[in-house]
């Protein structure tokens, strides 16, 4: 009884907000920002995977190209970092229109493969276009201007960036709990039925694809500002894979699960790297396998089921 009351939204919302606000007190502040950015990225991927039934294996294209776009705006225009970050998100949204248009008609593994192929094309362009992206060296020296306020301390920058993440998560939540989100769930559960009710499912899928890309780009752009550089890693396929892994770890179709997956993976990678352990993939991979085998619904999905009992 008490547990089921605890599962009520306001309590969890407060816990989540407090956790977000206290995060840099408990983990290394730059890592805290990484967790926040990846949490938004994972929520964006979950919009497609958990709520529309589309497994995108190419979201690195949006995360990584938004990082470049954000960096280029910040480097060349000298505008405050929020403008650069929003510009990066807008760039991802625009990029998602042709990619989404050409891939959303496909289902299942074919959709995953085509999105992966597009992401590899973006990677290829980023690698070749050295004058703009810096190629293998990455785009370095991205400033974080904010009307002369000194944000060089990662601890303070975390709080400057957090509102963007929270706003992005709010948008994702709003989408899921909107009439549009209801249509998405109907497409996921039974697309033929949704069409028979008069819904143009391809257009709905395209819109959610673009929204998801914009939110991914918001995370990727802030990530680039936080690190001061944008690199090829951001558009590499392992980035897409890591986002999907976070969603699966946290729980597909839970939205907040992705944040838990992000916290686990980013923090673990950091701890292992600090300890001098190189092959972090073996550890995260092993944890991933255990979670998938033992907790089918992911960490958050399983916890929620237990709370609701």
């Amino acid at each position: 009884m008490i547990l089921s009351r605890l599962a009520g939204r306001p309590v969890l919302l407060v816990i989540g907000l407090v956790a977000a606000l206290l995060l840099p007190w408990f983990v290394y502040p730059p890592v805290a920002l990484d967790i926040a950015c990846w949490a938004l990225f994972a929520a964006a991927v979950d919009l497609l995977l958990g709520f529309t039934g589309l497994l995108s294996f190419g979201h690195a294209a949006f995360w990584g190209s938004a990082a470049y776009a954000t960096g280029l705006i910040a480097v060349h225009s000298g505008l405050p970092f929020p403008v650069a970050v929003l510009g990066g998100a807008a760039f991802s949204a625009v990029l998602a229109v042709p990619i989404g248009y050409l891939s959303i008609r496909l289902r299942g593994i074919y959709f995953a493969m085509v999105t992966l192929a597009f992401a590899q094309m973006v990677y290829f362009v980023a690698n070749q276009w050295r004058d703009v992206t810096g190629g293998e060296n990455g785009l370095q020296g991205i400033p974080r201007d904010f009307f002369g306020v000194d944000l060089s301390d990662p601890f303070f920058f975390y709080y400057a960036g957090l509102p963007f993440i929270l706003a992005g998560l709010f948008v994702a939540w709003r989408i899921v709990r909107s009439p549009f989100g209801r249509v998405l769930v109907s497409i996921r559960d039974n697309s033929a039925r949704a069409r028979a009710l008069g819904y143009s499912i391809d257009r709905y899928k395209l819109l959610v694809f673009v929204l998801s890309a914009a939110l991914s780009g918001l995370g990727g752009g802030l990530f680039a500002i936080g690190h001061g550089f944008a690199s090829l890693d951001g558009v590499y396929w392992t980035t897409s894979g890591q986002a999907v892994m976070m969603v699966v770890l946290g729980g597909i179709g839970t939205l907040w699960g992705g944040a838990i997956g992000a916290a686990l993976i980013v923090e673990l990678n950091d701890r292992l790297a600090t300890a001098g352990f190189q092959e972090t993939g073996i550890i995260t991979g092993a944890i991933f396998i255990v979670v998938v085998l033992v907790f089918r619904r992911g960490v958050w999905g399983t916890a929620r089921t237990l709370l609701e009992r």
Partner: protein, 261 residues
Amino acid sequence: MAGPVPGSPVLAARGLVREFRGFRAVDGVDLDVAEGSVHALVGPNGAGKTTLFNLLTGFLKPTAGSVRLGPHELAGRSPEHVARLGLARSFQITSLFAELTPLQHVELALAGRTGLGWRFWRSDKALRRFSGRAAELLEQVGLDGHGATPAGALAYGRKRALELALALALDPKVLLLDEPTAGMGVEDVDRTVRLIQRVRETGGRTLTVVMVEHNMSVVSSLADRVTVLQQGRVLVEGPYAEIRHDPRVVTAYLGDSNAAH
């Protein structure tokens, strides 16, 4: 042309053909469905009933031929477009959204005609504006009191009733029912027949129904006209009493085991 005259065709197919890799599943079918009638499509397995159904509703594109609903040409249009033009269908295999409640199902169906489905920035509470009408429709099909149960947990007969409510929610000109009594016991069949009769006569008009049906007692109690299909072609068409004893129909159903090859 004047408004719809009772008895004039509201749905008409001409020369409808659908080929699958050289095999003609539907092979030149003409069909006239009279306004306000119940028109049954019957025939042995593989006769092309389901293919014809999918051609009418846009789920398959015809290889040749046309489908007209009033003034609109339907052939080649998408299923969602066909649905918006007023041709609503149910599915043979119960086809619902497992996690949504019946009330949410019908709200979604009602919202399809508005642009509300696009509003990703609004709360889903906005859908409640349809809940009054949705509750009415659920009551009409006898699902009052089950509005809040997830559809996946409903009993089979209730799922079929929800299918009907969803199709009715589209306020269709023509209702297409794909084996509405498939898999039902005798009691549920009778109840469904009465339900279909009842919902046809609401809103001051008689809804036109096209149904694929195997159960001949359902056909006899509901259908004004029957089209018998065999191997993708129209074998016979007429009132049930007429076609029932037609020797060609008897042969089609019993197989030609008595006939010499």
